[in-house]
Symmetry: C2
Subunit: 381 residues, 2 copies
Amino acid sequence: MIYLDNAATSFPKPPEVIQAVVNQLEQIGGNAGRSAHQGGLASSRLIYETRCCISELIHCPDPLQIAFTLNATEALNLAIHGVLNPGDHVITTSMEHNSVLRPLKTLEASGISHTIVWGDETGDVKADDIKNAIRPNTRMIIATHCSNVTGTLLPIEEMGKMAKEHHLLFLVDASQSCGSIPLSVEALQADFLAAPGHKALLGPQGTGFLYIGKDLKIKTLKQGGTGSRSEDLLQPEVAPDRYESGTQNIHGLAGLKAGVDHLLKTGVTEIQRHEKEQVNRLMEGLSVIKGITLYGSPKKKERGSVVSFRPGNLDVNQFNYTLDSLHGISARSGLHCAPLAHQTIGTFPEGTLRFSPGWHTTADEIEAALTAVSQVMKQFS
Amino acid sequence: MIYLDNAATSFPKPPEVIQAVVNQLEQIGGNAGRSAHQGGLASSRLIYETRCCISELIHCPDPLQIAFTLNATEALNLAIHGVLNPGDHVITTSMEHNSVLRPLKTLEASGISHTIVWGDETGDVKADDIKNAIRPNTRMIIATHCSNVTGTLLPIEEMGKMAKEHHLLFLVDASQSCGSIPLSVEALQADFLAAPGHKALLGPQGTGFLYIGKDLKIKTLKQGGTGSRSEDLLQPEVAPDRYESGTQNIHGLAGLKAGVDHLLKTGVTEIQRHEKEQVNRLMEGLSVIKGITLYGSPKKKERGSVVSFRPGNLDVNQFNYTLDSLHGISARSGLHCAPLAHQTIGTFPEGTLRFSPGWHTTADEIEAALTAVSQVMKQFS
């Protein structure tokens, strides 16, 4: 199998990730923050260490500013529902995932409005267009770092600076970049940053986190046992407990810690270099196959590890099925849960075929994928 | 180590649970509902099969009525926030966990009121007392099946019947019973039932579910990508997609399926019989140690696998620490996130020491724990 679907979930996981999960499952009996016996304490320590290595990765000054969630979607929802109140206005982009668009659409019923700033045909969004959309009641700007459809990198540094100048909160969706592109929440001046644990952070599914800016206290999505201040009938104020009700995915977080440790050891710039090489190889190869249309930023511009294309007039889903069943290539076709991104680049409602190389993808695998695309094109043309 | 903290999280997990997680992590690359390649389809199938075996366990007619969550707390929050609207009234009991009490307390600010029906000194709650608390605007009754503090079983069959007679919704918190006491949502006439995956269901942490009654559509806690109807900017109506935004904990659910399969093979009545035996042995042994006060239902009454006690005037946390550090016994001390339950039985604010045997706990382990309790009592008295 040639796995080119790392933007959906990374595969394979490093062996130490699997080992860490097994170790936690096999050796450590206990629930973090609940039980003061050795297994419970070991679990609490492990969760704290996971906060620490993520903090190191994204340059977060205090590990207690990391709140764990089921996935990046929950992290985005926590920030969006946690911050916004009736009367507020939000600015976002047409390149966002449904995990941003659907909460915003849902909040319209509560009197929270939003403006969608449209990208150009390469998926790029101008910070100036966002600036021009600011209203007196604008409270937050939400932008993806890297489009999951086109790999286009949005100018989030510029947006962060502008948000601060206008005293607006800034939420970054780093789902497609955290772990494969160097990130610093301090440099970005981000108030919130959401990411999944199972993509470029190489951890298990069921993990994700929200970075929350210093001294920001937001509403909670859920209330319940936090293992702290059990005598209080209201949710505790202390973070991150406040945002982490119920038993955490400690078995998953054990794997996530191992994944992030792996990244820190390898170096994110090295991973970025490797993925960029595969993306360039892929784009050059695809651009010379007759009938293929490539989307997103032009070849020489920086992009994330995502390449979207269409095989002429052929059906993307059928094409993807053939790649999988005849050539053993795992890729994704369709809308990738980001319908407006496809409207932006002109591929709605059919969507695109998406190849997303990962830390392990080899040049040979890219060459094999290119040969397969070429063959399927010939077969159906 | 003698592990007597199964009410916090079960340990050890059956080997096939660990194997299932490893298999999913090692062999299956793909994200359920997102990617139509073989790994993605295998993941989707696995999630569906997990719904099926849970449905078999709790006699749920349709696997699509099972929505997966991060934990039981999220499942309870989904039902509570999903159902209630300003002006509604809820009846619950003093034996509930903070995962019920804190959402209800939080909702007071939105004009949603609640009545807490107090249990007697054994933790028992009378269905008639709940009936007497019904008001014209009462919309839901929420009750735990088994107290996590005393192991007391609440009369949920009677409550379910009464809820139906009064056209009220009925939410059962089965956190301490699902997997170790036979349950049927049909027999209970429950509209919602919440349970964690990592306690008696023997699965990994980061898993839980909410059973949702037929044709009940509730509000969502989160909105985002569901892999379905990606073109819609509003959350899809179809269940369970509607309630499961973002990548699910598929690695954890693989383990949960193996855990539930293990239960179905062993038989919940057999597990219940085994645990009851250990609980009886524990209660008989504790009742003859001088200075020990036992809480909860009297010896001969049916109870879940939870035994709470206090060692005279000794500090429960110090006692627990000594049991752990000198005798290798993993137990839990304190309030167990259920403060009103302790007010009910008269152990607030210090709490109790809690022993919770599991499917694997042996008679020898119980005897060793009793000897240890006896020794620590002598040491400090």
